[in-house]
Symmetry: C2
Subunit: 195 residues, 2 copies
């Protein structure tokens, strides 16, 4: 009925690089694409089970060296590789991203600009933190991984993050100014006291 699980393809893409367990998948995803994609265990484990039934992935033969410790490492099958390749070619279908900050601002019109201003400030400092973190990762990638064929792709995704965050910071500054102007000229916003 609804849209196709994207989690399946995140799994396939990661397993193509190296066979892994569900636990490892989560951290590998976090480490490599964590700034624009994350997966929860509650999504990964059931999806892996399903995909194994559909023969898109399969369990690696268990090495008994690890004692009684349970550990299931998965590996892509040829069918899995094909499914991934097809998905990669399929166009990304457009989707309106929900923006909770903007929604709160919009309804803030009914309350007054002061609370909105606080939201914008919070968002701004959060974005600054993310920006600093991304710049650090960028430096890291630039210096290590001299010959990794994935390197230009890392750089592309980091650039997307940087440009997006910089745009957001610029918007925050605009919004701050506009809201401060509105605070000085009370206008027709009705004030509602906090609980």
């Amino acid at each position: 009925m609804a849209r196709e699980s994207t989690c399946r393809f995140a799994i396939l893409g990661m397993l193509c690089r190296e066979p892994m367990s569900g636990y490892d998948l989560r951290s590998a995803i976090e480490r490599s694409v964590g700034h624009f994609w994350q997966e929860s265990y509650g999504n990964l484990y059931p999806t892996l089970k399903q995909m194994a039934q559909e023969h898109l992935v399969e369990l690696e033969p268990e090495e008994p060296s690890r004692g009684g410790r349970v550990r299931k490492a998965y590996r892509v099958t040829e069918a899995g590789r094909t499914a991934l390749a097809q998905w990669l070619r399929r166009p990304v279908l457009p989707h309106v991203e929900r923006n909770e900050l903007l929604l709160k601002l919009f309804f803030g019109a009914q309350v007054g600009p002061t609370d909105s201003l606080a939201q914008v400030e919070r968002s701004r400092s959060e974005a600054e933190g993310l920006l600093a973190a991304l710049r650090l990762i960028d430096e890291n990638v630039r210096h290590s991984r001299g010959d990794d064929p994935e390197r230009p792709y890392w750089h592309l995704s980091i650039r997307a993050g940087l440009l997006g965050l910089e745009a957001h910071l610029r918007w925050c500054d605009e919004a701050r100014e506009a809201l401060q102007r509105m605070e000085r000229t009370p206008g027709s916003t009705k004030k509602r006291k906090a609980k």
Copy 2:
């Protein structure tokens, strides 16, 4: 267990402006905040029912003028207004937005830059369409609604969209160039033929 329904607050915010039915809510949301927030009927109707049970909203007394046509118009209660005001003050909790385009690009490293290039081109022209549409809305808002107290908030949300889309376009251009460079120097990407 999981996070709080944001739909509830979208409903409350909209009903504070004017009492409405579920159907009207959907179009009012689409018209006013549609470029950063949307709600589906499958979400609205059950949520409205719940909220009525919790006395956050209530049915307006039915006017019998409309014949047998079923129509339920909801109105906010005082409790609803309080709940909205509290939500507006609560900080937006940070969330990593999934970006399917970047995911496809990242895994594109295993396939070659040609398909990635196509994805970037598609995304670019989609963004250009959205940008043109937003600019039109911006013009509209600028000229009509001369004294609407909501006007500066409209402008704020439109500016967020514009800056974001412009940043995305700039990224698309960077990405295009990088991928074209990679196409010319085959490097170590393995090619996989389509099905």
